[in-house]
Symmetry: C2
Subunit: 325 residues, 2 copies
């Protein structure tokens, strides 16, 4: 059993469970294979509310549009109403889709670093624009790939959801980081990076700006965190230069290439962890991207407890990733 | 948006998202269809460590055995070791399988109340026995049905995992209930039951001992809670009589029958929420069972935030369940 130093969540590393019947089979990302794709060039009228377009030679290379089936909208304000024990509100927020490329078949592991840089720049630009709305507290940027990971459209895309409250998971992570800071006067994530560098065995990729590693208390096989070396609580402050966006592009590319070589066309979620807007988290929080391969389904034990059972120790995962040719 | 009164977790109820391409299709529980089943009568030698056997007419009707691929074992003690920021221990605990019936094809929705009562009694008996181990803090009882819900074996079974720490999800739920108690001098779950009875529209089944309802801040379509009317923090104190085990059996049967009639052979997790051992939670906690239909996969947004997006309002779910013939 291993304890995550930020959240105090325990993980059970149980290698023998990989021997169960049916476990450990190769998992291929399921596609929707819809004949019709609303994200193709020429279909722009099907995607409402264009928020951002990057172009080259008169053609778009990336578009950010409103989600046609939004989880949140800005039509009504977030005003909490109480009825007995229950509190509710109209959902206020933004739900946008980043159409990453005009190429339907492009995959994140084969994208050029320049393309990844363009996507990161779009994330930052839209986040900064949305952060001007003072009724928004948090932005969640994420990418779902494969049906197992919740994707319903195959065309390469990611999503931005901006919410009027700080989500519970974020809030727990912030509290854990603040507790560590108060006890040690240091950022827990900076201490994790230092220990990862000194132990070495869980790092799979690094450059001047970022370290990609399999976390000590990995909840999932081949879970990967990509973390900036420089302490910073907000992704929005990442600089659009070699030390910032470019290094992150290469770190994303390096990590996804290794994962693809080992796991094949695997389903995954890519999830950003960053500080809420206007929060006093500068000292103790540290942003990062998390890649979660979705190789199996969570079961009742995980739902009930929040514990995870992981059948691949992160040291083994890192060794396999680094050994693959 | 609706806030869960216990955990303060927000849920986004977004009915329009049920209109997305591919959403709302009927989901059928995937089977492993293994030719060989280790839980059949005659195969008892394949399941190690028999913990409990119920018999009738010289044949077993239910067996509790050690899990062949345990997440936790009692071989080594739980002693936390610290190395820099990381804390780990040998995993200490119990991981058992309740083989609910000798009948391979039996389903929970077609079981007789007497059979369900036998399963509940086995849960309680093993929990009480394990609670004598003072190194155990919590017991998680759960059932996975269908591959989408994490099941690897088709034969009707559930599982018991006993852990040496109180899990984070349990701990958050307890803190929320304690906060409500301190503010209101009442049990939040008793207040929820009172409001559910007064509003009525989310209740799908009730008898003298239990109320089954679709919670106000349902995270999943057709999520169902089965809660005792009488305030009690621990499932282990449920009495083996008409007011206790029998009423729960009928409430489980009534709920699963409705869900089956509406959703067909659907994948699900059944998860118990109860108090940790030796905890001072009598005043403010209230045990219950939760049924989570696994009709779609969680995506990056849920992983990142802990928010859920639910496309079926619980009032609509309850109406559909009550209307089905």
């Amino acid at each position: 059993m291993r304890k995550d130093p930020v959240s105090d969540r325990w993980v059970i590393i149980a290698q023998d469970r990989a021997l169960r019947p049916g476990a450990g089979k190769k998992v291929v990302a399921q596609k929707s294979n819809d004949a019709h794709c609303p994200f193709e060039p020429g279909m722009e009228e099907e995607t409402p509310g264009s928020r951002l377009v990057y172009e080259k030679d008169g053609r778009w290379t990336l578009r950010v549009v409103d989600n046609k089936y939004p989880a949140l909208t800005v039509h009504e304000p977030f005003i909490q109403k109480t009825r007995g024990v229950y509190v509710s509100s109209q959902g206020y927020g933004y739900h946008e889709v980043v159409i990453e490329s005009p190429e339907h078949e492009e995959k994140i592991w084969s994208m050029k670093p320049q393309k990844l840089g363009e996507i990161i720049t779009a994330y930052i630009q839209r986040s900064i624009e949305i952060s001007c709305d003072k009724d928004i507290k948090y932005i969640q940027i994420f990418k779902n790939y494969g049906r197992q990971a919740g994707a319903t459209i195959d065309h390469p895309h990611s999503q931005i959801v901006a919410t009027p409250t700080v989500p519970v998971s974020t809030s727990y992570e912030l509290k854990g980081a603040e507790r560590y800071y108060n006890d040690n006067k240091k950022c827990v994530f900076c201490d994790i990076l230092a220990q990862e560098e000194s132990e070495g065995e869980r790092i799979i990729f690094q450059n001047a700006g970022f370290i990609a590693f399999e976390p000590f208390a990995s909840r999932f096989p081949y879970e990967t965190w990509i973390m900036p070396r420089t302490h910073a609580d907000s992704f929005l402050c990442l600089r659009d230069d070699a030390s910032g966006v470019q290094n992150l592009s290469y770190a994303l590319k390096g990590s996804f290439e290794l994962l693809y070589r080992l796991l094949g066309d695997f389903p995954f979620n890519l999830v950003l962890h960053t500080s809420p807007f206007c929060s006093e988290t500068q000292r103790y929080y540290h942003w990062y991207f998390e890649i979660i391969p979705r190789l199996y389904n969570l079961a009742g034990f995980e739902w009930g407890t929040g514990y995870n059972i992981n059948s691949v120790p992160p040291e083994k995962a890192a060794y396999e990733l680094k050994s693959i040719k």
